[in-house]
């Protein structure tokens, strides 16, 4: 089970790089694509050597976001250069960033699986049972994450058709961040209720 998670995490992380490699005409974009693919491959390999598997997925995410920030928008206009993004490539690449996030989640599921498996092995739990139950847990979480990706896409499509509030993007960002931090603070600081009835 854990091997499938690692392979899936590596593939998801490499997907934006594959898109760049296949569809970009600019050589710099193709190199960035190769680097992202390499990060995805390293994620798969590093699973056997390190506990922090999601590090390479994070690096792929940051590289992808920086590529988008410098390839389009304010920075590209201010500095006067672009990375050769055309409209279809930009759309495809920016949607594929969600797969890097899926890769981070998958890598975290894998990390949790390994951590629990090791602790259970040390504590004398039956290996078969541990494998089976942790496998069910990981399967559920992975399928749930895939479902949430589809749901997120659906929500985005709904946003496309819902009438939008006419505010500029910076104001919208500030409002979104305030709401986000308020909710996050509430969730993290809420009193921990007993979890067992």
């Amino acid at each position: 089970m854990e091997n499938k998670l690692v392979v899936a995490a590596g593939l998801f992380a490499a997907l934006p790089g594959v898109i760049l490699l296949l569809f970009a005409t600019d050589s710099l974009l193709q190199v960035i694509g190769l680097v992202i693919i390499a990060l995805g491959a390293l994620l798969g390999v590093s699973a056997f050597f390190t506990k922090r598997v999601s590090t390479f997925a994070w690096l792929a995410l940051i590289l992808s976001l920086f590529t988008l920030m410098f390839g389009n928008g304010y920075l590209a206009t201010v500095f006067g250069f672009g990375l050769g993004f055309n409209a279809p490539l930009l759309e495809l690449f920016s949607i594929s960033v969600v797969f890097i996030e899926l890769s981070i989640v998958t890598a975290s599921i894998y990390g949790a699986y390994k951590k629990y498996y090791r602790e259970l092995e040390k504590a004398g739990y039956d290996k078969e049972e541990s494998d089976r139950e942790l496998g069910s847990f990981s399967n559920f979480m992975f399928i749930a994450a895939l479902g949430v990706v589809v749901l997120s896409g659906g929500i985005f499509l709904i946003f496309e058709f819902v009438p939008q509030i006419p505010i500029d993007s910076i104001s919208g960002l500030i409002i979104a961040m305030i709401v986000y931090f308020a909710i996050a603070t509430y969730i993290l600081r809420r009193p921990s209720t007993p979890k067992i009835a």
């Binding site: 976001l65 949607i95 139950e133 847990f137 997120s152 969730i187 009835a197």
Partner: protein, 441 residues
């Protein structure tokens, strides 16, 4: 932080499709929060018996039923260090998804030691929602109590000769039985002495007007054996499950069963007492099948302690009672100990006191736990039988000889290697020595 970082990148790059990457982590965390529920689970466990013998396997059946909650459940059913898990496991993991889950588990424990063992609680930990949220731990009280009795070997009665081979002078008998007319001595009055035995003439001659003297006459009845089991630190030598004290307990129980079935009175004393005196440490001599249960109850809780407690020779309440029993019933006394330089002087004085107190005979079984230690350090020791036995005794003989010489001459000594000397053989030797006048050094 992912939504914030992606939101900033979306604004800077003016790419609207990054909104999908902002929505995904928010929806995912929201999904996990929706799954977070209080766990509702029923966990039970029960053994297939409440009484077992040392070496027996006890099967425990456990069940877990989870009707609410989402996450990983780790269950630890109760066990005890004095038990070996021989089949199955007492620890289990269970994943509770969206559907209700239930599971049944069995595991077998082998009792390694006698005693009463409590299995108080089942403990379990709950890791909700992918471990992002805090785990919870709790215990469920079970109040399971398991009695493990010593497994004894009872040789056939025909193999044992309890009565002496030699013709002995008639000895006074058990404390149960009528007084005969054979005068023994004049002694101080004890509570319970018949008034008709008060010797008024002798009492008037003594200067202390509060003291009375009585005539003592021999009593008729059954023979009495008294076992005195040492629980001092020397008896701890060996392992927790297999040591001199455990061997001594098995010997006392086996011998008591044989003697009681022959209609002989048997009493047991455990020495020394502790200073707390929380539990009675003796069973007065009596006979019958029910009496064996009293002896078994006493020995079930016998433990050796580092604190020597009282000196054997100090006259505590139970020591006075012991001497009174010895005086009245003149029993054959069998002491069981691991004799060493630290306790030999005490046992020497104590034996002397018992002999002066009119014990018909005093035997000492010297348990040599060196054989137990050798058994665990050498796999072949316990299979070598007589040769290992002789080698051990030859090795220890010079030291032991000096110790035996410190004991009064009338004390008969039986050296016992619990690993290689069969219990029946030692019982035969000890009981016939106790009943005879011969020396078994």
């Amino acid at each position: 932080m992912i939504p914030v970082i992606v939101a900033i990148a979306a604004v800077v790059s003016s790419v609207p499709y990054l909104v999908v990457a902002i929505i995904f982590p928010l929806v995912f965390v929201g999904f996990l929060l929706v799954l977070e529920q209080k766990l509702q689970a029923t966990v039970t466990v029960s053994p297939n018996t409440s009484t077992a013998y040392v070496g027996d396997e006890v099967e425990f059946k456990g069940s877990v039923s989870v009707t609410r909650g989402f996450g990983l459940l780790f269950v630890r059913f109760p066990t005890d260090p004095r038990f070996d898990i021989v089949d199955g496991s007492n620890v289990h993991v269970l994943f509770k998804g969206l559907a209700n889950r239930s599971a049944e588990y069995t595991y077998k424990l082998r009792a390694l030691r006698r005693g009463v063992f409590e299995f108080p609680a089942i403990s379990f930990s709950f890791y909700p929602s992918f471990g992002l949220l805090d785990k919870s731990e709790t215990k469920i009280q079970t109040n399971i109590s398991l009695r493990v009795l010593p497994k004894i070997v009872v040789p056939r009665r025909g193999q044992l000769r309890i009565k002496s081979l030699q013709e002995l002078p008639r000895q006074s008998r058990a404390r149960l039985g009528p007084h005969s007319t054979d005068f023994v001595s004049i002694r101080d009055y004890s509570v319970g002495d018949p008034f008709k035995f008060i010797n008024w003439k002798a009492s008037s001659r003594i200067t202390d007007s509060n003291k009375l003297l009585v005539n003592e006459y021999e009593r008729e009845g059954l023979h009495t054996f008294l076992f005195i089991l040492d629980r001092g630190i020397n008896m701890r030598r060996g392992t927790l499950e297999d040591n001199a004290l455990e061997s001594g307990i098995n010997f006392v129980l086996s011998s008591s069963k044989v003697l009681l079935s022959s209609g002989i009175n048997v009493g047991v004393w455990i020495v020394p007492e502790t200073r707390e005196k929380t539990r009675r440490r003796y069973v007065l001599p009596s006979s019958g099948a029910m009496h064996y249960n009293k002896i078994k109850e006493l020995l079930l809780f016998a433990e050796s302690e580092f604190d020597f407690g009282e000196d054997l020779n100090k006259l505590s309440i139970s020591s006075k009672l012991l001497l009174q029993i010895v005086r009245e019933s003149t029993p054959a006394i069998i002491m069981i100990t691991n004799l060493s330089r630290s306790n030999a002087p005490q046992f020497s004085r104590f034996s002397d006191t018992l002999l002066r107190g009119r014990a018909s005979s005093v035997s000492l079984i010297d348990v040599m736990p060196d054989g137990i230690i050798a058994k665990y350090s050498s796999a072949s020791y316990s299979t070598q039988g007589a040769s290992a036995n002789l080698a051990l005794k030859a090795l220890l003989y010079p030291t032991k000889k000096k110790l035996y010489q410190t004991l009064p001459g009338r004390v008969k000594i039986v050296a016992w290697d619990p690993v290689n000397d069969r219990p029946g053989y030692i019982m035969r030797k000890a009981l016939s020595v106790a009943g005879s006048g011969s020396s078994a050094r």
